[in-house]
């Protein structure tokens, strides 16, 4: 890439210099974020969640850090206080939604096929699907345990293909449907596709981002994969029961995390020993009552919207 290139003019001049009698060229100034399409849908999602007073947690980590294991452990314990459900993103299979269903958590699987991340539109369509399938049992917050442990509600991986495979041309309007099935739901957990890179840059309209890192992945990950850790509202170091078998340097990890993120609480926990789970649930309650949305990601996007009118 040409580092000396700056602005639009050089390209224009260059082209007209090469072909002086060519058709008239002009520059259309656009000045908008390329994230804008996702951002438009994320905004709709956020408005939808805000209208309903729902808090949404976007859980991200590399594959196998223990997202599903953790959710299957803590969500059943949180359900009594906060009616909740979960949406799980994986490229293929409904294995993880099935695990959560089995733990009694109303869950919907989304399959992204080739995509390595969830985006705001996939989440919007998942919300419609929750409603269509009655994932939460039309509960109004009363019958959440019976969200269909038979697996019907979690949906086969293949069944989602048609809806999630194609790219939507317009943003999905969440205002039109009644979404009765989500009535009374306070918390939505979204388990993103296992990946430390791609999910971090797609705003889903969530209230909070949770980053997981398992102790076996090494202390340097926050330095190598900065964006996810920079934007996290809560950082979970998972599989702490394995620490005795590793040369893991807690202080070094803490230092590396703080290079990227000064504020987010950090919790060591294990679904095997149970360490840190109470603390983690306490942190979720704190986020819930703190009532501030993650906006770091959007601040730089909002100003780049000069040409937003649609034709």
């Amino acid at each position: 890439m040409d580092k000396k290139f700056s602005g639009n003019k050089p390209l224009l001049f260059q082209l007209s210099a090469m072909a002086p009698h060519a058709p008239v060229q002009r520059v259309i100034s656009v000045e908008e974020s390329i994230f804008q399409k996702n951002q438009d849908q994320a905004k709709k999602n956020r408005e939808f969640f805000d209208r309903r007073g729902m808090k949404v947690f976007n859980v991200m980590s590399s594959p196998g850090s223990g997202k599903t294991a953790l959710l299957a452990k803590i969500l059943p314990r949180l359900m009594g206080r906060h009616p909740l459900c979960a949406v799980i993103g994986d490229q293929e299979t409904s294995l993880d939604a099935d695990r959560l269903q089995k733990a009694g958590v109303p869950s919907l699987q989304i399959n992204t096929h080739s995509a390595c991340h969830l985006d705001a539109d996939r989440v919007a369509r998942a919300l419609a699907k929750i409603d269509a399938r009655g994932v939460c049992g039309g509960a109004g917050g009363t019958d959440l345990g019976g969200g269909g442990a038979d697996g019907a509600a979690s949906g086969g991986g293949g069944a989602d293909g048609a809806a999630s495979g194609g790219r939507a041309r317009e943003t999905t309007d969440l205002g039109s449907a009644a979404h009765a099935d989500l009535q009374g739901i306070e918390w939505l957990f979204i388990e993103n596709v296992g990946n430390l890179v791609c999910p971090a840059v797609f705003d889903l309209g969530e209230s909070f981002k949770i980053a997981l890192l398992s102790v076996t992945e090494g202390e340097e990950k926050p330095l190598k994969y900065p964006v996810l850790f920079q934007d996290a509202d809560l950082i979970v170091i998972s599989k702490s029961d394995l620490l005795p078998y590793l040369d893991f340097d807690r202080q070094l990890l803490l230092k590396n995390v703080r290079v990227q993120n000064k504020k987010a609480p950090l919790v060591f926990c294990s679904v095997k020993s149970g360490e840190g789970l109470d603390e983690l649930m306490g942190q979720l309650e704190d986020l819930n009552s703190a009532n501030i949305s993650t906006t770091k990601n959007h601040a730089f996007l909002e100003r780049e919207t000069l040409t937003m009118e649609k034709p």
Binding site: N8, V24, R26, V27, I28, E31, I34
Partner: protein, 82 residues
């Protein structure tokens, strides 16, 4: 490779603008990518022709300017009118 889906979004947006402005040719598209955007410029440059394939942008030149922070911006397009 989230760059491909972002390149598809860019192409979709550029085609909407091209249609609205009734342009005949899109010579170039200028984008700005910062080092902290979470988008890899090389991967994006690689994905763009794939996303533009079989569209009005198939022969469009993608010019990537490096930013300094989190920029990931569709700055402008150089077009020829009907």
């Amino acid at each position: 490779m989230h760059e491909l889906s972002l390149a598809l979004d860019l192409v979709e947006r550029a085609l909407i603008i091209a249609q609205r402005e009734k342009v005949q040719q899109v010579r170039g598209i200028n984008v700005l990518i910062g080092p902290d955007s979470g988008v890899d410029p090389e991967a994006f440059a690689f994905a763009f022709p794939e996303a533009a394939h079989d569209t009005l942008l198939a022969k469009t030149e993608l010019r990537i300017q490096r930013g300094t922070g989190r920029e990931f911006q569709f700055q402008s397009m150089v077009v020829e009118d009907v």
